[in-house]
């Protein structure tokens, strides 16, 4: 926990946010994650790509315990994820997540979506929680929609609310699971812009995405996964210019036209 308390210094960049060592996971007989080793530093931005079914979503869902790994070690912000519910709670409090399908709560207003967890988990007062929510809604540029319900918003707006909702918990790490895949093309940019800003402010981010422009612009490292394994990890320039593995080359040739 002293990681979180220390003042931000350049040295902090070397501290570990997420460590995955020898992680395996099975869905029944299906081996989804095979010996995953990945260390993410604080303030690092990782983009994970790969063909569908390669285990990228499962990988980031393991980090906040939505999926449980069966072998190996996952340490999030100094807390190892175990079967113990308290370790999960501790990890989830530091990790925000944004989903492909937004998953906003349809029975709550935008503002209530953002205040629910701060009130019930952090114990904030309603007024404090609303102030914080408005702050983040302004940052994602939709404060004027705060009294609407999710169904009244466009996909891009909903996804920005989802980002604000996660930020209201002041997470130290943000996970994005294909945040723009369910959006119409003209809405992708507004969401990516918010994510780029977030990256520039130094948020630790793990992004599952096929937005290669985004990866080029903000990623510190790009992870390529196939068949449950991490095939290649490299800086974006190297990754796109000189992919080392055949599978990476094939994948890139398919998505970059």
């Amino acid at each position: 926990m002293n990681v979180a308390m220390s003042t931000p210094t350049p040295a902090e960049h070397t501290l570990v946010a997420v460590e995955m060592a020898g992680v395996h996971k099975w869905f029944g007989q299906f081996h989804v994650l095979k010996d995953i080793n990945l260390t993410v530093m604080r303030k690092e931005r990782i983009v994970i790509c790969g063909p569908s079914g390669s285990g990228k979503s499962t990988l980031i869902r393991c980090i906040n315990g939505l999926e449980q790994h069966q072998r190996g070690r996952i340490v999030v912000n100094g807390t190892e994820l175990t079967r113990d519910v308290r370790s999960l709670d501790a990890a989830r409090r530091d990790v925000g997540m944004v989903f492909q399908q937004f998953n906003l709560f349809p029975h709550l207003t935008v503002l209530e979506n953002c205040t629910l967890a701060p009130i019930w988990v952090r114990g904030l007062s309603k007024a404090e929680a609303e102030m914080r929510a408005m702050h983040y809604l302004e940052r994602v540029r939709i404060p004027e929609q705060s009294y609407k319900y999710p169904s009244q918003l466009s996909g891009g707006q909903q996804q920005r609310v989802a980002i604000a909702r996660a930020l209201c918990m002041n997470p130290k790490i943000m996970l994005f699971d294909e945040p723009t895949s369910a959006l119409d093309p003209e809405m992708i940019k507004e969401v990516l812009d918010v994510m780029i800003e977030l990256a520039q402010e130094g948020m630790t981010m793990l992004v599952v995405s096929h937005e290669m422009g985004f990866a080029r612009e903000v990623a510190d490292r790009v992870v390529f996964m196939d068949d449950g394994q991490i095939v290649e990890i490299n800086g974006p320039d190297e990754f796109f210019a000189r992919p080392r593995h055949e599978r990476t080359k094939l994948f890139l040739s398919q998505i970059l036209r």
Binding site: N64, G65, L66, D89, R92, R93, V95, G96, M97, F99, Q101, N103, L104, F105, P106, H107, T109, L116, A117, I119, W120, V121, G123, L124, S125, K126, A127, E128, K148, Y149, S151, Q152, A162, R165, A166, M169, L175
Partner: protein, 400 residues
């Protein structure tokens, strides 16, 4: 491709050979005219048939029978009734009996149904399997069978009044029903009820303050004990201070039966058990379906925000599940009311048995009584539906 009406009108009448039979409008007119004549004829025949039959049997129609003496006894009367009372009185005795068994069955079926439905979703395999077995057994056996089962095979096999041994000193389970001490209210008991009311009020205020405090974010303290003290302690104190203003009338065995105590008839119990447990199996499925229909992403989003399982269920899943649960739940409530008329099979004096049964037999006023019976069940069902629809609107998704 449908053409707009005006266009088709203009384009339609290229009559072949001027034949009226080929004109769709003319044909439609003829068909409708024939239908109208048929309906009028059927209605008139029914009316005339009834009039002639009533005249032939010398039955005067009308509602005068309501004021006549009923002359039959009813085994469960929650409002004063004797054999000398009128049919009108009997009507209300039956109605109250139907309403009481329906209301109680609705409450019990809802509690049991929600419990079983949630148990079926439990991660505890044993509990989930038990709940599943409950649902499959109860919903697949005819309700009439279940009523008779409770009446004959369970309650009917209890010992007679003379053989029964009391539970907790004074509750007798017998084949004549459950007999227990009757609580009589003496002067001063009003103060105890007043204290109970004040206790509830204070507890509500406390809850409101606590909620506000939570919203203000100040320190959260549990007021569970204080609430309990207010609701239980305050009336208890009043009870002691006023010198226990109640009298217990203990049941005593005289001859072959008990006198003095209060009694729940086996007919009421059997009907209530059967209706509640049977309907609960359907409600359990409705609840399970409602909870499962809330997308998995909702729970995942709640978990990833750090909400506990409990808070997720209460604040995220339940509000969304209730919207799916309420409309089919309303149907089950209506079924309970209507199914309560199976009371006739075991002689529970419900509305149908008393009114459409005995009263109809004795007065012969079939038309009036059947019409009133239909109107009464319709009224109860509509009232239930109106209330549930109001509730459904109150919890409906806003802004959708």
């Amino acid at each position: 491709m449908k053409r707009p009406a005006a266009e088709s009108k203009a384009a339609a009448p290229p009559r072949r050979g001027g034949s009226l039979a080929a004109d769709p409008r003319f044909r439609a007119f003829v068909v409708q005219a024939i239908l109208l004549i048929a309906i009028v004829w059927i209605g008139w025949t029914l009316f005339e048939n009834i009039r002639q039959n009533l005249a032939a049997q010398k039955i005067a129609s009308g509602f005068g029978f309501f004021g006549e003496t009923a002359g039959f006894g009813i085994s469960q009367t929650l409002i004063p009734y004797t054999e000398e009372s009128t049919y009108g009185r009997a009507f209300f005795v039956g109605l109250v009996n139907t309403l009481i068994v329906s209301a109680l069955a609705i409450v019990f079926a809802t509690i049991l149904g929600f419990a079983v439905g949630i148990a079926r979703l439990s991660r505890n395999v044993l509990l989930a399997r038990l709940a599943e077995a409950y649902v499959e057994v109860l919903r697949n056996l005819p309700l009439l069978f279940q009523i008779l089962f409770w009446y004959l095979a369970v309650l009917g096999t209890l010992p007679g009044p003379r053989q029964s041994t009391p539970l907790l000193g004074a509750v007798y389970l017998t084949n004549r029903g459950i007999i227990f001490p009757k609580i009589g209210l003496e002067p001063g008991s009003g103060i105890v009820f007043g204290a109970l009311g004040i206790g509830f009020l204070l507890a509500l205020i406390l809850r409101f303050l606590q909620r506000r405090q939570m919203l203000m974010g100040s320190e959260r303290r549990s007021f569970g004990w204080l609430t309990l003290l207010l609701i239980v302690g305050l009336p208890a104190l009043a009870f002691v201070l006023t010198g226990a203003p109640v009298s217990l009338k203990w049941p005593e065995l005289r001859g072959f039966n008990f006198v003095g105590g209060a009694r729940l008839n086996p007919e009421l119990l059997a009907l209530l058990f059967a209706l509640s447990t049977y309907t609960a199996s359907f409600i359990a499925e409705i609840v399970r379906a409602g909870v499962l229909a809330v997308p998995r992403g909702q729970t995942e989003a709640a978990f990833s925000l750090g909400l506990s399982r409990r808070t997720t269920l209460r604040r995220v899943v339940a509000p969304q599940a209730m919207r799916l649960i309420v409309p089919p739940l309303t149907s089950q409530y209506l079924n309970i009311t209507k199914n309560s008329s199976l009371a006739a099979a075991i002689g529970y004096p419900d509305f149908f048995y008393v009114f459409a049964g005995t009263t109809l037999n004795q007065t012969g006023q079939a038309i009036e009584i059947i019409a009133i019976t239909m109107a009464v069940y319709l009224a109860i069902s509509l009232a239930t539906a109106i209330f549930m629809n109001w509730y459904n609107r109150a919890i409906a998704l806003k802004g959708a």
